[in-house]
Symmetry: C2
Subunit: 206 residues, 2 copies
């Protein structure tokens, strides 16, 4: 569904400002000025800043989970390790395509708010369910305790969010549109290598 | 140097509020109420909320870098891999001891502000210098390209901040004071295992 162009402009302006200054540091007026629309239009479309945030977050997660589910479905003919690797690629690619919003949303999720709790019980719970299924499928159950698995899963989740939680540190790797694709390829490779290592488990490596 | 107890109380209250509600979402009045002090005392001690933030961040990083430097100095008799492992342990332990402030500061560093840029050119540049020295020392130069090394270093840095950037996801691992130590041990082990794997570089693992 094609979004109304001025609605789209408001969301783009808000994304950039939320990313730079945070949600609390951005006013409705800042957004209106940047999008070159009248303040009242933001109230009309979104019923204010909180409504805009909710709209954008829901849109982000709906499309994210669609991507995750479609990737899982398309790759069922592959072995479990390959399935997980493909999934990781598409997750990083999705986040990279919406770079500023990914950075903003991951920062926001580190807060403890009613909105975060709502997102957690809906989208994040579903994401966790899909990711654990894919990840635990590749771990050797006999050689990995439940406790180890939990920590390894959190380590994987960390890798999936790190570039978007440390944008100032990663930004030197991304200059121009083309380099987004190079970044995705190189970064995904480091996660794939980590997975290979986990699955191979050489001597002394639990 | 022992800090004035009411100054300490203000910092503790501010840390908890900044962690929960963010810097912008916290007012000086919130801090004064939580610390049970008069608002004017915060102006007197810190010249306002920004001054309080700066004081706390500088204190955090000064002690952090002291810990890092002391750990490097103490472990020079060990081989390079062991030195790095010890360093990682002390870094995670330091961050865990100041859990709420670690979460807050890592979130704040993802913003693009003058204050973040000031922190970056001082403390973060020094941290990067010390960490790259320790990390690149264990990588096999002939088998790791400069590009690979950069990505691996960022992966390490990601692991050092992940638990503090996703506090809501990690919190189930930490219940009570004792479990902080268990967390440190278990989490550091996953990073050590990753390092072992990097250094051993089995076949097909670049």
């Amino acid at each position: 569904m094609k979004m109304n162009p001025s609605k789209q402009k408001v969301i783009e302006a808000a994304t950039e400002l939320f990313f730079q200054k945070g949600f609390h540091g951005t006013s409705v007026r800042d957004i209106a000025d940047k999008a070159r629309v009248n303040v009242s239009l933001i109230s009309y479309y979104f019923k204010g800043k909180q409504g805009l945030l909710e709209f954008a977050v829901i849109d982000y997660y709906e499309k994210y989970l669609e991507t995750v589910e479609a990737t899982i479905k398309q790759n069922q003919h592959l072995n479990k390790l390959q399935q997980l690797k493909e999934l990781i690629f598409f997750i990083i690619q999705y986040k990279q395509t919406k770079h500023q919003f990914s950075c903003f949303i991951h920062r926001e999720l580190s807060l403890d708010s009613v909105f975060v709790r709502e997102i957690s019980v809906t989208y994040l719970a579903k994401e966790n369910h899909l990711l654990t299924q894919a990840f635990y499928g590749v771990l050797d159950e006999e050689r990995t305790s439940i406790n180890d698995r939990t920590y390894l899963f959190m380590q994987l989740k960390g890798m999936l969010v790190t570039p978007y939680m440390m944008p100032n540190e990663w930004k030197h790797q991304i200059i121009g549109e083309y380099s987004h694709q190079i970044f995705v390829r190189n970064y995904v490779k480091t996660i794939h290598d980590w997975l290979d290592c986990l699955v191979m488990k050489p001597k002394n490596y639990a």
